[in-house]
């Protein structure tokens, strides 16, 4: 029970980390990574290679799926000297970013390192994503229509 919870927690942390890395700004990611000052030896097992992901929507928004079109995506798998592997896939064609994301995924399988990476890389990336979303939402909200009804007399 607790063992499977632990596995689930780890998978969830990994999923969240990769999702943030994918959506985060490449320049900020590189900056945070450089700040850590680590440069682990690693071997590229696959990629980084660029290909396509077929994007799906749903009919009517919530119905059966259909294929909408494709997007470019880049993926990489790396293996550290100790055998830990890391994977990443990100929309677009930024191979350096994807390779770095895979390295971070591999390193983060060590608990101590995961905490360090979350603090130094994941948290600032996530904060930047949240800020951008909040800014854009506020700009959109300023265009919200506030309807008011003019008083209409009966006579």
């Amino acid at each position: 029970m607790s063992a499977s919870n632990l596995i689930n927690d780890r998978a969830e942390a990994r999923r969240r980390r990769l999702s943030v890395l994918a959506q985060g700004d490449a320049a900020l990611l590189a900056e945070c990574w450089d700040g850590l000052g680590i440069d682990p030896e690693c071997e590229l097992v696959r990629g980084p290679e660029t290909g396509l992901v077929a994007l799906r929507g749903r009919m009517g928004g919530g119905g059966a799926p259909f294929n909408l079109g494709e997007a470019t995506a880049t993926r990489a798998t790396v293996r550290l000297a100790d055998g830990r592997t890391g994977h990443a896939m990100v929309l677009g064609r930024d191979q350096a970013k994807v390779k770095l994301a895979a390295v971070i995924d591999a390193l983060a399988q060590d608990e101590t390192m995961a905490a360090r990476l979350d603090d130094a890389v994941i948290a600032p990336l996530e904060a930047a994503i949240t800020k951008r979303d909040r800014d854009r939402a506020a700009e959109t909200a300023a265009t919200k229509v506030d309807f008011f009804t003019m008083v209409r007399g009966d006579d």
């Binding site: 990769l18 994918a22 994007l55 799926p65 909040r134 939402a137 506020a138 919200k144």
Partner: protein
């Protein structure tokens, strides 16, 4: 007779060199950067992504630059490029209900939850050319209004409960069809129709959508909701054993609501047409939704009386890469074909003249 002709290599080489020269134009004018194109001609990029059926802003910008702004040529370049890439897999269906909203309006419900948000729209502009834009006048930052939620339920989710508007069709389905993998067959299912429409030519779909409003398959449409914004794209990664968000794409979604008198297959109710397009492409999403609804005629038991309802007509002709390929191939050399036709016309002319000289009756006009 088949005649092989060679030659023209030098002319072609020089023509391509001339094309490159004219594309660049006056060398004293700075060259456009791709970033300038993606930032300042963003809707052109969106059209190239949508009709090229490939979401990649930088590639679309490169295509626009290479095509000298010829959109269909740019779309062709993007389509050609995508065939060189391997397909890694399929995304999970995107959730437009969880969209980071940049624009969201409804023409049917004034006070819908989440409100009407106009976003960066051309609507309500006066369509007067702005001489200020000829220069580089300073542009103020956008106004802000903090504390509003960035998400909003889809109108279709809010209204499906009362049963007067049809719900989403059954989500239980196997693999959706894919027109990039299997040849088109008619009758076509709605999934592959939507795939074709989403990459279809905006002008063609707009004209057909207009025809439905003018009485060719009238469907009494209302824009139930139009929303533009970013959605997350998640892909199941077998090596990890779970799905991961790999980024976001900007989409435009349109829900058209159409009055429907009822048929032997369905009671009177409002039916819906659906549009979903890459980028900020509102006109295209609306046209797509109207065409989607028109082509549901067979499913809803309506008489098929107008071009927009004829799925074979619409789907076979909505792809501008196919269409321009076939139309434009006419300018390639047809010397031998034409020689044969010329021979045929000469023979017919000779017969015609000999018949006339002999005083025989002339046949009525033939082809």
């Amino acid at each position: 007779m088949y005649v092989a002709v060679k030659g023209g290599e030098k002319a072609i080489r020089n023509a391509h060199r001339l094309l490159a020269d004219r594309r660049r134009g006056d060398r004293s004018v700075p060259a456009l950067t791709l970033t300038q194109i993606t930032c300042q001609l963003a809707l052109a990029i969106d059209r190239v992504m949508s009709e090229g059926a490939l979401y990649d802003r930088d590639l679309a910008a490169l295509a626009v630059k290479q095509a000298r702004g010829d959109m269909i040529e740019a779309i062709f370049l993007v389509r050609a490029y995508r065939t060189t890439l391997p397909r890694f897999g399929y995304s999970e269906p995107v959730d437009t209900g969880a969209m980071h909203i940049e624009r969201r309006i409804s023409a049917t419900y004034k006070d819908l939850p989440g409100g009407q948000m106009l976003g960066p729209t051309f609507d309500y502009t006066h369509r007067l050319l702005d001489p200020e834009l000829a220069g580089d006048a300073a542009v103020p930052d956008a106004e802000r209004r903090d504390g509003e939620p960035a998400r909003a339920m889809r109108v279709s989710d809010i209204l499906a409960q009362d049963g007067l508007i049809e719900g989403d069709c059954d989500a239980q389905t196997e693999m959706p069809g894919d027109i990039t993998r299997e040849p088109m067959e008619f009758p076509m299912e709605r999934d592959t129709r939507l795939q074709s429409l989403s990459r279809g030519d905006e002008g063609f779909l707009l004209a057909l959508a207009y025809s439905t409003q003018r009485g060719y398959a009238r469907s009494h449409p209302f824009a139930g909701e139009i929303r533009i914004g970013e959605v997350e794209v998640a892909v199941d990664m077998p090596e990890l054993g779970f799905a991961v968000t790999i980024g976001r794409v900007q989409l435009t979604e349109c829900q058209m609501i159409n009055q429907f008198k009822g048929s032997s297959k369905a009671p009177p109710q409002f039916t819906r047409g659906y549009g979903l397009v890459f980028g900020q492409s509102e006109r295209k999403a609306m046209a797509m939704a109207l065409c989607d609804r028109a082509m549901r005629a067979r499913e809803l038991g309506e008489d098929i009386v107008a071009p927009a309802q004829d799925e074979e007509f619409v789907i076979s002709h909505c792809d501008n890469v196919q269409a321009s390929g076939f139309v434009e191939h006419l300018k390639l050399p047809h010397y031998v074909d034409f020689q044969a036709e010329l021979e045929l016309v000469r023979t017919m002319r000779a017969e015609h003249e000999s018949r006339r000289d002999a005083g025989e009756p002339m046949p009525e006009a033939a082809e």
